[in-house]
Symmetry: C2
DNA sequence: TTGTATGCGTTATCAC
DNA sequence: GTGATAACGCATACAA
């Protein structure tokens, strides 16, 4: 006879044999203990322990035509901003029956598309993806996916399904308005890893400066290189060398802002009097820095938590209150932009 | 007849029908296109596209008795150190046929045990876990797992299977030796989130100080609170208030060290003359800081990459050169400990 | 190169 | 409350 060897590990049938019951009873005892009598349940649990039985999740997923997988795709693992949303997602799903499957798109849309395809192959219970800038194909795949989909870290009128985040345009605008209000005259923008969200921040920033009559395209400095503290320090030095009259800078994130602080200090510039600095996201270090750094505070943890709540609500059959949730942001004014006017 | 409804999505049989071939041909065309004639392959690919067919990975895993899942468990998602190893792991596995399944144990051994159990339920192709401080049960589960297991971020004589990292004891010792050599007299230790690895750093540090005749248990300050830049700034202030004679401090990680720098600057202390500071891990910001911060450089990315290589080697049937790999560390001396003697 | 029959380990369905 | 049986969707073994 044809025979196939399994993985060799004990199966539910082995447990059933040892406990002297049928497989389905074991299945029930493990999934919903209340459905099985105390007597049998005890015997089954013993057998499970003795055999060191671990249920095979793939077989379960196949038989029940549903998996407990939540697919999550972010563009970066080392960027603290996404890490905090991820932490919220893992915290919320961690204890329950769900498994989080994480993908790293590295800011490459085609990579994201590949990941979406792979994840959908697992018939996930839900999907969470960062941003609104998916390729058309990615979008269509997700629209056809028979599971809730949440986009995070951004807002927009036209979500794939649901969305929770904040407006990067408005955030950038708030930064610009603040610098203008503080009386800075030659206000620059320093942006690394210019992803679509950073561009929206820049657009908002431009609008604020144009409105304030301070817009100078020569004071926009961007690069696609990954942002880092070191890069911030380097670029601000170049920036100041090229335009010694620069007197304030909006960095597209906090790493760049901290780097700008260090770079200015090295150059002997005084913050906030010679030059004002504002970052974006308000990582915890911003308040601790010396001088403390102004930033746009966003609540990444809340975004992750909210995304999970929306998913759980849909999975439990409810209709979520809102499909579009704007959690906003908050300007945190600190020493780095508080100069004596 | 008894009938069960599947998920309703197209199956490999639907594709086979549409293409006018058998299911196994479709299966082959998708897994190894070279096994199928051009003619049929084209028809099959067309059918796949038209039906928007996505293979069901659970069914595949069940039928082939092997999954393409790599289980990874780390204690933190927001700690940059683990994030960088993770990035290496995702980079290495990302393109291939493997899927990384990530778990966050939050520094809780029982949580880690639960995650190991869950992951083993997926019959992973391999497991990667952080550190050597698993519970006995976790260790046994992993020893019985029929897949390669790599412990990362640490070294030790007795790995579960394979291990790649560096010695935290030796790293701490190197930091202590350096401070003694620089002529600092009252050398303290500032440690937050004292996990087992941090304790080993502290032990190495103690040994160096004892050897140098500078050990003072009153200068060891630790807390179990999560480390952060803000916390570093707060604690160094308390530390200096209690022991104004403190003239150097080894922080158990770089966030704490950066915080210590800011805290000292706020207190008007000059670095490195009034007080020397050394961190651990050498995150990129350490070199950019002003003054630049001395640290113990570790290569987290290489650790992750190495772990993947060991796994791939085993999975392809080879025997890895070594089961224990010590990637070491390197003292990076910078301004924060380079005082005029 | 292609197809047929069967098994992977679990759960849904129906019967007792 | 418990059990027998047939799916779940795909890949292996073997044959042609």
């Amino acid at each position: 006879m044809r025979k196939r060897k399994g993985a060799g590990r004990p199966t539910i049938a082995d447990v059933a044999n040892k406990a002297g019951v049928s497989t389905i009873t074991v299945s029930r005892a493990l999934r919903d203990p209340a459905m099985v009598s105390d007597h049998l349940r005890r015997k089954i649990n013993n057998a499970v322990r003795k055999l060191n039985y671990v249920p095979h999740s793939h077989a379960s997923a196949l038989a029940s035509t549903r998996s407990n997988i939540i697919g999550v795709i972010v563009p970066s693992l080392t960027n603290n901003v996404f890490a905090e949303s991820l932490r919220a997602i893992y915290d919320a799903f961690g204890q329950g029956a769900f498994q989080v499957q994480l993908g790293n798109s590295r800011y490459v849309p085609a990579e994201e598309e590949r990941l979406v395809r792979t994840f959908l192959g697992q018939r996930p219970s839900a999907m969470i993806v960062a941003g609104t800038d998916q390729t058309d194909v990615t979008r269509q795949l997700l629209e056809n996916a028979e599971c809730p989909v949440v986009q995070i870290m951004d807002v927009g009128d036209d979500p794939i399904d649901m969305i929770v985040g904040f407006s990067h345009f408005e955030g950038g605008k708030a930064a610009g308005v603040h610098l203008v209000q503080q009386g800075y005259k030659r206000i620059g923008f320093l942006g690394a890893r210019m992803d679509p969200r950073s561009y929206r921040r820049l657009e908002g920033f431009k609008e604020a400066l144009q409105f304030g009559g301070r817009y100078d395209p020569d004071l926009i400095m961007t690069t696609t290189v990954s942002s880092s503290v070191s890069l911030g320090a380097e670029l601000i030095a170049q920036f100041c060398a090229r335009r010694p009259d620069l007197d304030a800078v909006f960095c597209n994130n906090d790493d760049m802002a901290l780097g700008a602080l260090f770079g200015c200090q090295k150059a002997g510039l005084s913050i906030p009097d010679d030059i004002g600095i504002i970052g974006f996201n308000d990582l915890e270090m911003m308040a601790a820095a010396h001088p403390s750094l102004t930033s746009i505070r966003t609540d990444r943890y809340a975004i992750g938590r909210h995304a999970v709540e929306m998913i759980q609500s849909v999975l439990s059959g409810e209709t979520p209150d809102k499909k579009i949730v704007d959690l906003g942001f908050e300007l945190q004014v600190r020493q780095s932009t508080s100069r004596a006017k």
